[in-house]
Symmetry: C2
Subunit: 421 residues, 2 copies
């Protein structure tokens, strides 16, 4: 008998039929003799609908009240799910984030978990009950206020609960079969990955893989939680994310997979005076508006005129405020202009085998060159190489690299529509 | 400066426009220098929609989970209302039933308030903030579970909070101008009542007046809370419900008003053996299915055959289970048959002046007789006379009695559609 945490996203419980299907799945696991804790998101578009309602009333909703509002969504889905399970003659009890002991800091809208005291969850399990927990939400013990964890919050709730309960596995149910070597909607020969290290998964998630949120993976890595990403539409094994998946195998795979991302823009500050401290001045300014810079490249212009260009990528939605800020401070910075490019695509090759294998970069850049891909920016970590190219070249680039590292499958991947929160 | 509790029902906050209108009303009161605690119901049909969703999934939702589900409704309305108020530059904070310290017993779906510890509400008021509290909900301290108070729950929340906070007045906002001497949709000359005693209001509410729920009035009477029932669409004075409204006035009004009710059915147990203990046997049986009997009449049949008929009224929805039960126990009871009548109407004349004035009954029954009303059952209390007649004679009866006691107004009552929860 194991203790299993199962997380179901909003698309799995988007209507009455979805809730019954998920309830069936949970009951199967319980009847197989396991203790089951379920983390559930709000139904379908509930969160977006509530947000829209708030914006009908005020332009800028108060963060404390917005959290109070949005947490109504999970309250609805978890109560319905508990009813459905009880109707199948299996005991079930639903718990809000605060009832589940999910303590956070007071940062409404993007609170961070500071402690988990799942006493009531343990009591429910001891009573032989399935515990249904609201994802995405917690409470601040100092203020007594309800908080939300922000994007990917339900994944984080599930992993944090799994860690606190010392669960055997945290199953993240989604509408795809697992993690793929590349986005199967672009690379049709992408293969499902059976096992991957948490470290590799972190790099993939951070660079565009949408199936899992980076905070949840980070939590899993820190507390040694095994995650199993699998489909709620089938019983097939999905992808297991482990601390040390390859054990003492002689040949660990060189490359785990490819992530791609078209959600970023590139901003270039042109003709920045090439004097010490100038870059720091720019990045201090940018940090003041909390922009999330990703890749940064500084390149001298062709002629040595004492000026340089500094380029960086960041989420498209953050580009305008950064450009406005830099323009407003042009007098101090002394740059000549700013260019802004929304049509970039980023490709990242991830694999812990890169540490010990020579020649990865050579294979990578050769494949790109042979496919005629124009590389605009490069950044690397110990287990990752990322490049920026034109958005419309990204698919070609992905397929070329995928083939070059012999990741192609013989069968085409099955793709379902929609993604969970 | 006063402390005012204001309660707004679901029809007052049915959409974004309603929420803004209510927020305006609250801000006006706050800006006039009063401390304000607001109790709010779920928006419009939210509660019914959630109930329907539950019934799409299971036939018989688990009560604990149903309460968890339904309380999402107030969470939405109160958060939106707090946002709207803050947007008008007045501080506001929303609180769930448990955050507001609304402790109840564990009877899910119809919990009773056992204690109110509004510490966080007081803190919010001390900080100069408007406190918005979810109506209809509480929590059980032993189990930690969320409960709901059942029908009229938000009125009860408001009065209980007003009592615990020693508020100066509990304003119940509704879509009518106050309590009328009779239902203005039937008696077009009905007059708004300016003041009424809690005792009279209790009798009116118990016998069909829909504006206020009996539990809230009972709470107000017990703890001496002044209720002001008024319209959320105008600033006109409504009806004040006081402990002792007439003071030492020489002439208190004889009659406060008329209640009418067509929600009950009459069940007659025919030919019951006229032996001691038979009636007790029947009512013990009926009590076992928790039926809410109202009027009870026992009448000997014309010929003395050692048998009697026993009639009672009860909510229409409860008639079937009672009839089935009595039929199943016919062997023991020994009755000859059961008749069931859904087409009855009840009229109740209420007034504390009845205690000291002779001739009220004479005027009452004379008016009914002259109008040709067939009186089928009679019951009385110290300050009330109720009769049962045919449902289709009820309007005629109401108008006749209303005129006989000189309650008629010169102007026609204004009637708005819809009622709050």
């Amino acid at each position: 008998m194991s203790l299993i945490v199962q997380k179901f996203g909003g698309s799995s419980v988007e209507d009455a039929a979805g809730i019954k299907r998920v309830a069936n799945r949970i009951v199967e696991t319980r009847k197989a003799g396991h203790d089951v804790v379920v983390v559930v998101s709000a139904m379908g578009d509930t969160t977006d609908d509530l947000l829209e309602l708030a914006h009908e009333i005020v332009d800028d909703p108060a963060p404390r009240e917005l959290d109070m509002l949005l947490t109504a969504g999970e309250r609805i889905s978890m109560a319905l799910l508990a009813m459905a399970i009880k109707d199948m003659d299996v005991e079930a009890r639903s718990f809000t984030g605060s009832q589940a002991g999910m303590q956070t800091d007071a940062a409404h809208g993007s609170a961070r978990i500071v402690d988990v005291n799942p006493k009531r969850i343990k009591d429910a399990l001891d009573d032989g009950s399935v515990a249904i927990v609201a994802g995405f939400q917690g409470f601040n013990r100092n203020t007594g206020d309800i908080t939300t964890l922000g994007r990917g919050g339900s994944d984080t709730t599930a992993v944090a609960l799994a860690a606190a309960l010392h669960a055997d596995v945290c199953e993240i149910y989604t509408d795809v079969d697992g993690i793929y070597t590349s986005d199967p909607r672009i690379v049709h020969t992408a293969k499902k990955i059976d096992v991957i290290s948490a470290e590799e998964m972190l790099e993939l998630a951070a660079h565009g893989a949408k199936v899992l949120y980076i905070r949840a993976v980070e939590f899993a890595r820190r507390y040694g939680v095994e995650i199993h990403v699998r489909s709620s539409f089938s019983h097939a094994e999905g992808t297991r994310i482990l601390q040390n998946p390859y054990g003492d195998k002689v040949e660990e795979p060189i490359v785990a997979g490819l992530a791609s991302d078209t959600s970023e823009a590139k901003v270039t500050v042109l003709g920045v005076p090439n004097v010490p401290g100038k870059a720091a001045e720019i990045f201090r300014l940018v940090a003041s508006v909390k922009a999330n810079l990703d890749m940064i490249v500084q390149n001298l212009s062709g002629e040595d005129d004492g000026r340089t260009d500094i380029s960086f990528t960041l989420p498209k939605s953050e580009a305008k405020s950064v450009i406005d800020l830099l323009s407003a401070n042009r007098g101090e910075i002394g740059h000549l202009g700013i260019s802004h490019d929304d049509n970039i695509g980023k490709l990242s090759l991830v694999g812990s085998g890169m540490r010990s294998h020579a020649g990865v970069s050579a294979t990578f850049f050769t494949a790109l060159a042979e496919a005629g891909i124009n590389v605009e920016m490069i950044s690397t970590s110990e287990i990752r190489i990322s490049i920026v190219t034109r958005a419309d070249q990204l698919a070609t680039a992905l397929r070329a690299v995928h083939s070059a590292f012999e990741l192609d499958s013989d069968v085409e991947a099955i793709v379902h529509a929609g993604t969970g929160r």
